[in-house]
């Protein structure tokens, strides 16, 4: 998927649905996901707005930081009355970047001092979620 042009916007929704196995249009925008999300303070789009953006094939959804703030805690997933797994949608959006080798965390820029303070459980998880 190239980044510019109509083609991408056309393909975006299908790609996200294919990777996530979710039906984006099942969402009726009740907002339960955003109400339960513990990290919305840091997000520039609320979780339900992310789904709305996908429904509209709006490329700006892919420029939101929400997918990178999401920690896959599944609060939204257990609360959604329509059974939409938003955590999977976020993962699919991350994967669209990561599969083009567009890492969100730069391993090369981390110093031994920084890493010495972190447990490996955090590093393994972060690298799985934010490097391709």
């Amino acid at each position: 998927m190239a980044r510019n042009g109509l083609e991408i916007i056309e393909g975006l929704l299908e790609k996200v649905e294919e990777l996530s196995g979710q039906n984006v249009f099942a969402c009726y925008q009740c907002g339960m996901c955003s109400a339960g999300c513990p990290l919305t303070d840091e997000m520039d789009l609320l979780p339900n707005q992310v789904i709305r953006g996908l429904q509209l094939r709006d490329w700006r959804t892919m420029e939101s930081n929400a997918m990178w703030i999401c920690a896959s805690c599944f609060s939204c997933q257990v609360r959604c009355p329509k059974g939409v797994d938003l955590a999977r949608l976020m993962e699919a959006m991350r994967q669209i970047y990561l599969r083009q080798q567009l890492d969100h965390v730069s391993i090369d820029d981390m110093t031994p001092e920084q890493i010495s303070k972190l447990p490996q459980i955090a590093l393994v998880a972060s690298f799985r979620k934010k490097t391709g």
Binding site: P112, I115, Q120, V124, R128, T131
Partner: protein, 235 residues
């Protein structure tokens, strides 16, 4: 092997494919010799020619095999129908560290080679190793901070780089393992007290007299002394 067989083998020719071209080479050559017979000259990517230096990592495929195979070109015998190519070098930067200054704590390997946290346990590295090392197991040991196990499992590594070339997680296995062995040697391996004591004794001149006697002996006397030396009983 009978004499007839020898002649037959000497005369037999096999086909090898190198970069799209097929060559006839005598059977019984190593991959490296076969490629040289075909006219390739190795300025880099060849070293000891005895399986120790790790310079001649090679990949090949047999005609009827879906798998890519990995070996050292100086050790693996060329077979009829092999597709061959030499890898001159595996680009893999080494992390900079001063062994005397680092803190040999459990996550030190992760600090200098953080990409080991990306291991997906696919085992591709192990399958690529021409030394039959359990490469993935030592990466996993490193991840959980077991430096001694990483050092022990990687001991036979000759730094050929095939694991690193194949890794989907971009791990630099062999550099990381070398660091583990260095840390193990510097900080973790038990200090042999008897060796230190003996070195002190030598410096203090305890054995000067004995050594002087040996130095004064001629070859015949040395031979007699050697034959009469004290031996440890075989267990």
């Amino acid at each position: 092997m009978g004499k007839g067989n020898m002649n037959e083998q000497e005369n037999a020719m096999i086909r090898i494919h190198v970069m799209g071209k097929t060559y006839q080479v005598p059977a019984g050559l190593t991959i490296m010799d076969a490629m040289e017979y075909s006219g390739y000259r190795f300025i880099r990517g060849a070293g000891c020619r005895s399986g120790f230096c790790g310079a001649c990592s090679t990949i090949y495929r047999r005609e009827e095999d879906y798998r890519l195979q990995f070996a050292l070109a100086c050790q693996e015998m060329a077979e009829d129908g092999m597709y061959l190519v030499q890898l001159p070098f595996t680009p893999a930067p080494r992390s900079k560290y001063n062994l005397e200054e680092i803190d040999p704590s459990e996550n030190v390997l992760l600090q200098y080679y953080p990409e080991i946290a990306r291991c997906v346990s696919c085992n591709t590295c192990t399958k690529a190793c021409p030394q039959d090392i359990e490469v993935m197991d030592y990466v996993q040991a490193a991840l959980r901070g077991d430096i001694a196990r990483t050092a022990a499992l990687s001991f036979d590594c000759i730094q050929c780089g095939l694991c690193t070339m194949r890794c989907p997680a971009d791990i630099k296995h062999y550099h990381m393992a070398q660091m583990a062995r260095r840390i193990y040697g510097r900080y973790l391996s038990p200090v042999p007290n008897h060796l230190e004591e003996r070195l002190c004794e030598i410096e203090e001149g305890v054995y000067d007299n004995e050594l002087g006697k040996l130095m004064a002996m001629n070859k015949e006397e040395l031979g007699i002394a050697y034959a009469a030396r004290i031996r440890e009983e075989a267990k």
